[in-house]
């Protein structure tokens, strides 16, 4: 006769396991200038003279993984080299077509979104992943010494709300 004695902890047990990967979304907008994506730093706005006006062309690109409904661009005045100059003379314009940097024109009617007198402006057009808003800043030549930096902020509330899914 065989007698086996096992402690209770050595009794029969059964186990099942599975793994699953969860990943999260991102949201953000970066300035793009001449195909360079400016990330993790403010964008210093360098105005380049052309005739009686100075310009800077740049884009605002959705670099996150979600469509965003709005975002904010803060205008940071860095340096005013000549106090007689007027930040309000700097015009920020948006082109929903394409800028022609040679003729200084937009393929559709451009929209003024702010002046340098503002502390910020908001873009409220939904922006898909990878999509861009085409922008430019311009100012009379006498004003080009005004130093601006742009800072782009995208809050959580600019992406879709939470959803409940079943599958």
């Amino acid at each position: 006769m065989v007698i086996s004695a096992l402690p209770a902890s050595a009794g029969v047990a059964s186990r099942s396991e599975r793994s699953q990967i969860s990943s999260t979304a991102t949201w953000g907008v970066s300035v793009v200038n001449q195909n360079n994506v400016i990330t993790n730093q403010d964008y210093p706005l360098t105005l380049i003279a052309s005739g009686n006006t100075s310009y800077n062309y740049f884009s605002l690109r959705n670099t996150g993984s979600q469509t965003i409904s709005f975002f904010t661009v803060s205008l940071l005045q860095d340096v005013i080299k000549d106090k007689n100059l007027k930040p309000g003379d700097v015009i920020f314009e948006r082109c929903d077509g394409l800028w022609n940097t040679t003729t200084k024109t937009c393929s559709v009617t451009p929209v003024q979104v702010a002046t340098g007198g503002s502390s910020s402006f908001q873009i409220t057009t939904p922006l898909n992943v990878g999509a861009e808003i085409k922008m430019r800043a311009r100012t009379p030549n006498k004003n080009q010494s005004i130093g601006f930096s742009l800072q782009v902020l995208v809050p959580r509330s600019s992406v879709r709300g939470g959803q409940v899914t079943h599958s």
Partner: protein, 217 residues
């Protein structure tokens, strides 16, 4: 004369030994010839051990499909089925998780960090879940209250801790990323962000055999 006496004394011990051996042989033959009796069951008794087998199957996507692009506030319900396909009733049903990946998705931030990690809630249904609508056609029971995923590394008892042989437990595994505010500046994710993270979670269900019993019959 003396020589003759000595010869007589030499053979006497040999004769005595022969007598003793003879008596022993006769006595031994009488023991071997005693009666014996044997009893046994004509049909062998079958004794078999029970089995305990816990099967985990996906119901719908279950754990078989990754969860991607989660934003704060999202709730993702996945459905799995546990079956005790063994012959033994099971007790002490527990769940634990092991996870690797982005730490902010595994454990809540500690002040001043305010990030909130993924949470898991487990609910069973007495009948199979509708994995499209999330409707339980029977009676739902909360098996595990909402718990941060990183707090489940030790085996945690489910509310319904028994699972009898052939019994099925229909589970809804609810993963949620609590709503929270983060602002991305200049395209760079903030420190300790929950954005752009990834976690690989392994869910482990354990079941023990029923208590051993002594029976008389």
């Amino acid at each position: 004369m003396i020589e003759a006496t000595k010869k007589k004394r030499t053979w006497r011990p040999l004769a005595g030994a022969a007598i003793v051996i003879s008596v022993a042989a006769i006595a031994g033959q009488s023991v071997l010839a005693s009666l014996n009796a044997t009893a046994f069951n004509t049909t062998a008794q079958n004794i078999n051990a029970g089995t305990l087998k816990l099967d985990l199957a996906n119901s719908g996507n279950g754990f078989g499909t990754s969860i991607a692009n989660v934003v704060p506030g999202d709730v993702v319900n996945r459905y799995v089925t546990l079956t005790n396909s063994g012959t033994l009733n099971g007790i002490g049903l527990t769940l634990k998780t092991a996870q690797t990946g982005t730490s902010s998705l595994i454990t809540d931030g500690i002040s001043p960090i305010t990030t909130k990690a993924l949470k898991l809630t487990v609910t069973s249904c007495s009948a199979a879940w509708n994995t499209t609508t999330g409707v339980c056609p029977g009676t739902p029971t909360e098996e595990l209250a909402s718990t941060v995923i990183g707090s489940l590394t030790s085996a945690t008892a489910l509310a319904g801790s028994t699972l009898n042989s052939t019994a099925v437990r229909y589970l809804q595994m609810k993963i949620e990323l609590p709503d929270q505010n983060e602002t991305t500046v200049n395209g760079a994710l903030p420190a300790n962000t929950v954005q752009g993270g990834s976690v690989d979670v392994t869910y482990t269900f354990d079941l023990k055999q029923r208590l051993a019993t002594t029976t008389n019959s």
